[in-house]
């Protein structure tokens, strides 16, 4: 009996357990156990040791700290400040305040690693304001839900940490690799809003009186603490002064300071942020742990090797392989969350990717982009749920309104594939790389 025989059993078990509502971490452990039983490998030794070594790791410590940083800032006046600091500046662009969604999400993404948190934080402030001023609701909702996914791409990013830890790629380099593609997505989204606003002038609300230049500059002060924090966190990684974990610690200290200075830090909010972060990092850590066990079990069963050589027989070019993977992920993404997609990837298809000589750093950014797209596809798309919760519109309405942005993200994947330097250039210039 060989891997070709086991694989269908394991795939059916995986999908069956997931569909029947078994927790994702438990499902991964269960499938790993079935694989180990099939090849008669020692579960009792491998399970605890693979799980222990996966979570008792120094590189994983960046995860809870960045989650905590986001939880602290989530409880400050940051969303409010972002809106009022950005609004007078984007007022001169066609599309006006709609750009607050994109830029606001881009900035919040640089202090938070989660896309749902990014969309929820920016949206709770911007959606009511946009609606009150009479902006097109569909475009407001679409730009918010899709810009929220920037939380995954712009560092710090929870999903890049998960990928880095499971695929053994430097988290610091992954973070830097996400910067330029993230800015590119911001630019594409803003360009779309500008074009839409020029073509649909009749749907835009009348312009508001602008502030004077000095008033606008003084509004920028609202953004200053956040921008300084972003520079400290990303700058310390780029210059090689700090590792990802150390940068995360700086981020926690800095965001506690911001919360303290803005008067939103008290024992209650501190505790809430700490417990919120503990819960989220426990959930993700448990998935990483059982995925590590699954990864070892797959190795025992010889599946990644068999899969890599099976795919090898098709003689696909790297482009064809990437295209096939992108399609596979977008289908998977309709039913699975991003973290599970990433850990399943590293457990099963990593050898295949390596065999095709695809750069693992680039592949991390590719996966994140595809996961971003997956966050926007019904029936399971976290950002759709978030915006559904914020607006009360049903998920299909939200999904239709993100469609243009969904297509722009697909275009980004294509551009990134043709020009991989967009991701790999910045990490090459970082201090420690010289």
């Amino acid at each position: 009996m060989d891997a070709i025989f086991y694989s269908p059993i394991l795939i059916v078990a995986l999908l069956g357990l997931l569909a029947s509502g078994v927790w994702i971490a438990i499902t991964l452990a269960g499938v790993a156990m079935i694989a180990m039983l099939l090849v008669e490998a020692p579960i009792d030794l491998v399970m605890p040791s693979s799980i222990w070594s996966a979570v008792s790791s120094w590189s994983l410590t960046a995860l809870p700290l960045f989650i905590w940083m986001g939880e602290i800032l989530f409880r400050t006046r940051l969303a409010d400040d972002l809106f009022h600091g950005l609004a007078p500046w984007v007022n001169r662009l066609p599309g006006r305040l709609l750009h607050v969604n994109v830029i606001g999400c881009g900035i919040f993404a640089a202090v938070s690693g989660s896309s749902a948190a990014t969309a929820a934080t920016v949206g709770q402030m911007s959606l009511p304001e946009l609606k009150r001023r009479g902006y097109d609701e569909k475009l407001s909702i679409g730009s918010l839900a899709s810009s929220g996914t920037l939380g995954l791409l712009i560092p710090p990013s929870i999903i890049l940490i998960v990928y880095g830890v499971s695929a053994n790629v430097s988290i610091a380099r992954l973070f830097l690799a996400g910067v330029v593609p993230g800015l590119m997505v911001v630019a594409l989204f803003m360009a779309y809003i500008v074009i839409w606003a020029l073509l649909n002038r009749e749907k835009m609300p009348p312009a508001e009186a602008g502030l004077s230049f000095w008033q606008m500059v003084s509004r920028l002060r609202l953004l200053l603490p956040t921008v300084l924090l972003i520079i400290a966190v990303i700058g310390s990684i780029y210059t090689g002064v700090a590792t990802a974990t150390e940068a995360a610690t700086l981020g926690v200290v800095g965001s506690l300071l911001i919360a303290l200075l803005s008067g939103s830090l008290n024992w209650q909010t501190f505790r809430m942020s700490l417990y919120g972060a503990t819960r989220t990092s426990c959930m993700i850590g448990f998935i990483i742990a059982t995925a590590a066990f699954l990864s070892v079990a797959m190795g025992y069963a010889g599946i990644p090797r068999a899969l890599a050589s099976w795919i090898g027989t098709f003689n696909l070019s790297a482009y064809q392989l990437i295209f096939a993977l992108a399609i596979l992920y977008i289908i998977l993404g309709c039913f699975l969350d991003g973290i599970s997609m990433v850990v399943l990837t590293t457990a099963v298809i990593m050898p295949m990717v390596q065999a095709a000589h695809i750069d693992l750093l680039w592949f991390g950014i590719f996966i994140v982009l595809v996961v971003e797209i997956a966050q926007l596809t019904p029936p399971v798309g976290f950002n759709l749920f978030v915006v559904q919760g914020l607006t009360g519109h049903d998920i299909l309405y939200v999904a239709r309104s993100v469609l243009p942005f969904f297509l722009l993200l697909c275009a980004t994947v294509a551009i990134l594939t043709v020009f991989p330097e967009i991701a790999t250039w910045l990490p090459r210039t970082m201090f420690s790389a010289r």
Binding site: W23, D44, P48, I51, S57, L65, Y275, C282, L336, F385
Partner: protein, 171 residues
């Protein structure tokens, strides 16, 4: 009895939160130490141990508050009577798998203790001490799963179901 259990889960969450604060403090000490030329020995390794603690101690509490994610696409569309069968199936399977994990973890800790396994850092820490967090957390997780299973079989609402209903999305 049940309130006592709830207190133990909460105590686990407190321990986990303290582990997270410990990660931040250890890393901070390392940064400060480097600035002032003091070598903080093994801060990275200790932070790794705290990382494990922060995950394992929180497992039970995270379960009860609906923090562990799952695909509830089909569950949400089921009639309550059918859904109950699936909840019992999920909980039963989770209890079995976690039960095995708990037994194996406890065994691993005992072996680390008997063979005097130590960490590889400058200060050799006996490995059974940090590994205790995995064994204790796994046992507590099984207790919490059994707790939910019994509630569901009795026809009461499990803690995570209540939490999932009030909080429609998590990431």
């Amino acid at each position: 009895m049940l309130t006592a259990l709830n207190r133990i889960y909460a105590a686990g969450a407190v321990l986990a939160a303290l582990c997270m604060v410990a990660i931040a403090l250890l890393t901070l000490a390392q940064i400060m130490g480097r600035l002032f030329g003091v070598l903080i020995v093994d801060a990275g390794e200790l932070a790794g141990f705290a990382m494990a603690g922060s995950i394992f101690f929180a497992l039970a509490h995270t379960l009860r508050t609906g923090g562990h994610i799952r695909v509830n696409l089909l569950l949400a569309r089921m009639r309550p009577s059918i859904r109950r069968i699936f909840e019992i199936w999920s909980l039963g399977l989770a209890t079995t798998i976690s039960g095995m994990f708990a037994v194996f973890s406890v065994r691993m800790v005992i072996e680390s203790y008997e063979f005097h396994d130590v960490s590889t850092g400058m200060i050799p820490v006996p490995l059974w001490i940090p590994q205790l967090s995995m064994a204790a957390g796994a046992v507590l997780f099984v207790v919490a799963l059994l707790h939910e299973l019994i509630l569901t079989i009795r026809g009461q609402e499990a803690g995570y179901v209540a939490a999932e209903n009030t909080e429609p999305y998590t990431e």
